[in-house]
């Protein structure tokens, strides 16, 4: 019988304190808290949470194991479907996936599935298990990109006995987990580095500073370096801008640039050389997770920080928890506001952002009510820095340097549900196929492709 207690609160850093540091916001459950929270699960016959998980993690089963404190068994159950639980437990939009479908959520609060997954994932990172690795089959696979898709694909292939080399364009392995998601949401040493270490232990080789499409090409990897197949998991790294006047003024930057400086280059730490600039007031344009990451980073660097979003709060695509945390940290939210022009001084530096008020009209193709400009509602938000967080698209470098690799109108590589592309032996998955999406979908795509590559090479 399930325990009818309220959802076990998770410990977090005090908002006033954490808004001045880069340490992780959420401290997570301990064993006692995790077991107690697990006891709330109804273990439904027809688990809607599992159906809502993009990779179908056997959620009731792992929670059953947790109920009796068998964390190792819980970790094994999750591992059947996910290779990155400590990461997904932190960054998945649970409210629209597993937790959003939890029966308990109808009348009260859903089981904190994400926090439980995180607990189990972290436990496994501290108690690593020797994975079974099949004997080498003598075949070589190249993985392009070391983000969630690449890591998942590489580890599955390594376990099957393939010799896998992951090529990363940047100087650090991890892709968006390192350059995109901030330390305060996803610790680099404590979580990301450990996940990568566990992939390394499977025998996967990593080569950084290799830009596929420039340093090497897909063709040179296959023809000259003897790779039998290639998986492309190069993500969606290209930032979008609005195309409004003043966008090239000094002080306007993409969220990608701002976050890369802060996260990958550790610009927030004075011991590192890369500069970062926030001025007195920062405005971040956009409402997704990247916008929240950027605005909260700006706040931590000492600026007054504001979100400007053209729809209303109900439409914010960011995880509910991030919006909640941002508000607690003193981020100002200006909803139904759309920038029309960046204002600058004579020296070409940003002084403000001209905006118009919006109202919501009929639902558009995405199902969200489309914002319409209110006539004569122009106003100016004074600021020194404007950060554009409007989404990203795949980098065309690989497609443009690989003959016969089909892409669609949005520049995404065309791949079937198993990752097979128009080129035999070349597979793709994650954001480079779907456009910017989630870590768990990319991880799932990487694993499916690993299976397909194995079938192709056998």
């Amino acid at each position: 019988m399930a325990n009818k207690i309220p959802r076990v609160p998770v410990r977090e850093q005090n908002p006033a304190v954490r808004a001045t540091n880069f340490e992780e916001v959420c401290l997570g459950y301990n064993l006692e808290e995790a077991t107690l929270e697990a006891s709330r699960c109804l273990n439904c016959k027809n688990p809607r949470c599992m159906a809502a998980c993009p990779v179908g993690i056997k959620i009731p089963q792992f929670i059953e194991a947790l109920k009796v404190g068998d964390v190792a068994a819980a970790a094994d159950i999750i591992a059947q479907d996910s290779s990155l639980p400590s990461i997904c437990g932190r960054v998945c939009p649970q409210e629209s996936q597993c937790e959003g479908s939890c029966i308990l959520g109808i009348k009260g609060e859903s089981v904190a599935i994400g926090k439980l997954e995180r607990y189990v994932g972290d436990w496994r990172l501290s108690n690593p298990k020797e994975a079974e690795v099949a004997a080498s089959n003598g075949k070589k696979v190249a993985v392009v990109g070391s983000g969630p898709a690449g890591l998942a694909c590489a580890s599955d292939l390594a376990k099957m006995g393939y010799s896998v080399t992951v090529f990363e364009a940047l100087h650090e392995v991890g892709g968006v987990l390192v350059y995109g998601i901030p330390e305060f949401r996803l610790p680099k040493k404590g979580v990301v580095a450990k996940e990568i270490e566990s992939v390394r232990r499977l025998g996967v080789k990593f080569e950084t500073d290799v830009i596929v499409g420039r340093t090497v090409t897909i063709d040179s990897l296959m023809d000259e370096e003897g790779f039998d197949a290639v998986f492309v998991g190069s993500g969606a790294g290209l930032p979008r801008f609005m195309g409004i006047e003043g966008e090239n003024l000094n002080g306007v930057l993409s969220a990608n640039e701002f976050l890369t400086r802060a996260n990958l280059m550790r610009a927030y730490d004075e011991q590192y050389d890369t500069p970062i600039y926030v001025g007195q007031r920062v405005v971040v344009v956009g409402g997704g997770n990247v916008a929240m990451d950027a605005v909260r980073t700006a706040k931590r660097l000492g600026a007054e920080a504001t979100i400007v979003y053209r729809r209303s709060e109900a439409e914010l695509p960011a995880r509910v928890e991030e919006v909640h945390h941002a508000k607690e940290e003193g981020i100002e939210f200006r909803m139904l506001t759309n920038p029309t022009r960046v204002l600058g001084n004579e020296q070409g530096w940003v002084t403000g952002l001209n905006c118009v008020e919006m109202e919501l009209g009929e639902p558009d193709a995405s199902g969200r009510r489309s914002p319409i400009e209110k006539a004569g509602s122009d106003f100016t938000v004074a600021c020194d820095v404007v950060i554009m967080a409007l989404g990203t698209s795949p980098n065309p470098l690989i497609a443009s340097t690989t003959d016969n690799l089909e892409t669609n109108r949005r520049g995404c590589i065309v791949a079937d549900e198993n990752g097979a592309t128009s080129r035999p032996g070349v597979f793709a998955g994650g954001d480079t196929v779907t456009g910017a999406a989630t870590v768990i979908l990319a991880m799932g795509a990487g694993r499916k492709a690993a299976k397909a590559i194995d079938e192709y090479l056998r």
Binding site: Y179, R214, T215, E257, D273, T274, P275
Partner: protein, 294 residues
């Protein structure tokens, strides 16, 4: 980690460093660049490729030590390592894709300014190897700041030198020398390639325009990743925003908004100067009493 095979001072604050980077050496083409990170705390700094040797696996870079990061790069000696060298980045020069017939009909003039002489060298060398005649103008403030003159003499059909103070070659700016070659010496060119400080490229472009001479410039914008991810290197080309790292670094000079490009180069100047000042004070043994060096 990338090993440094040799290092040589070419002029005051200008150093040539040769590294072992076989993948880059094999793929590099004229017009491309690399990104170097001196150490684990270093900044990613875009640098031009001055030479490459696919057989030896070596890449040569020339760095002018201006800020903290470039000073770090040039201070690394033989046998030491850079944390990272990534590349080749950017699109190769357009001429690489032209047919030999087209190319060999063309008369090129390269205008190189200061440390910009280094990236001109592999372009002229490539053209020479493909049987194309090339004139080169090298400009510097003074004789002692000239670099790569001997290497260039070996590959250029004609080498002209200009110094601001007249200590070697033509007394004056490269623009005046280019103009003189065309108007007084009856030189006629089909393509001008200018690489050097932004202000020089702007004025070479204006000079080329006078003679309806097509002109290409190589922009040295600020960058972080150099692969199209950050957009720090945005430039306005014919009214449209382009990324220097993936759409360039070479652009049709007539289309470039030089004033915006120069202004954007100064985006982090305050922070850079502060970092450099702190480093200098530290070198002199100063300990900051109010903790600014923490």
């Amino acid at each position: 980690m990338v090993e440094i095979l040799s290092r040589e001072m070419l002029a005051e604050n200008i150093w040539q460093t040769v590294v072992y980077a076989p993948r880059i050496a094999k793929s590099a083409k004229p017009g491309q660049f690399i990104i170097v990170r001196a150490d684990e705390r270093g900044e990613r700094i875009p640098l031009t490729i001055a030479d490459y040797d696919a057989e030896k696996g070596t890449v040569t870079m020339v760095t002018q030590a201006l800020g903290l990061s470039t000073r770090k790069i040039v201070s690394k000696g033989v046998g030491e390592h850079f944390a990272d060298v990534a590349g080749p980045l950017g699109r190769p020069s357009d001429f690489v894709h032209e047919t030999m017939e087209e190319l060999q009909r063309k008369r090129f003039v390269f205008v190189a300014g200061g440390v910009g002489t280094a990236p001109v060298y592999p372009q002229v060398k490539w053209l020479k190897e493909h049987g194309v005649e090339v004139d080169v103008i090298i400009g510097a403030k003074t004789k002692d700041m000239l670099i790569y003159t001997e290497q260039m003499r070996a590959v250029a059909s004609n080498l002209y030198i200009a110094t601001d103070d007249g200590s070697e070659g033509f007394h004056g700016l490269v623009t005046a020398l280019l103009e003189k070659l065309i108007t007084e010496q009856g030189k006629s060119y089909d393509c001008c390639v200018a690489i050097g400080p932004m202000i020089m490229m702007k004025f070479v472009t204006l000079t080329a325009k006078k003679f309806n001479l097509p002109c290409i410039v190589s922009l040295n914008a600020l960058m972080v990743d150099g692969t199209g991810m950050c957009g720090a290197c945005r430039v306005t080309i014919a009214g449209k925003t382009k990324f220097t790292c993936v759409d360039g670094p070479e652009f049709n000079a007539y289309d470039v908004d030089f004033d915006e490009a120069m202004r954007r180069q100064g985006m982090y100047r305050t922070q850079e100067q502060r970092a450099l000042a702190i480093a200098r004070e530290r070198e002199q043994g100063h300990k900051c009493n109010i903790g600014l060096d923490k």
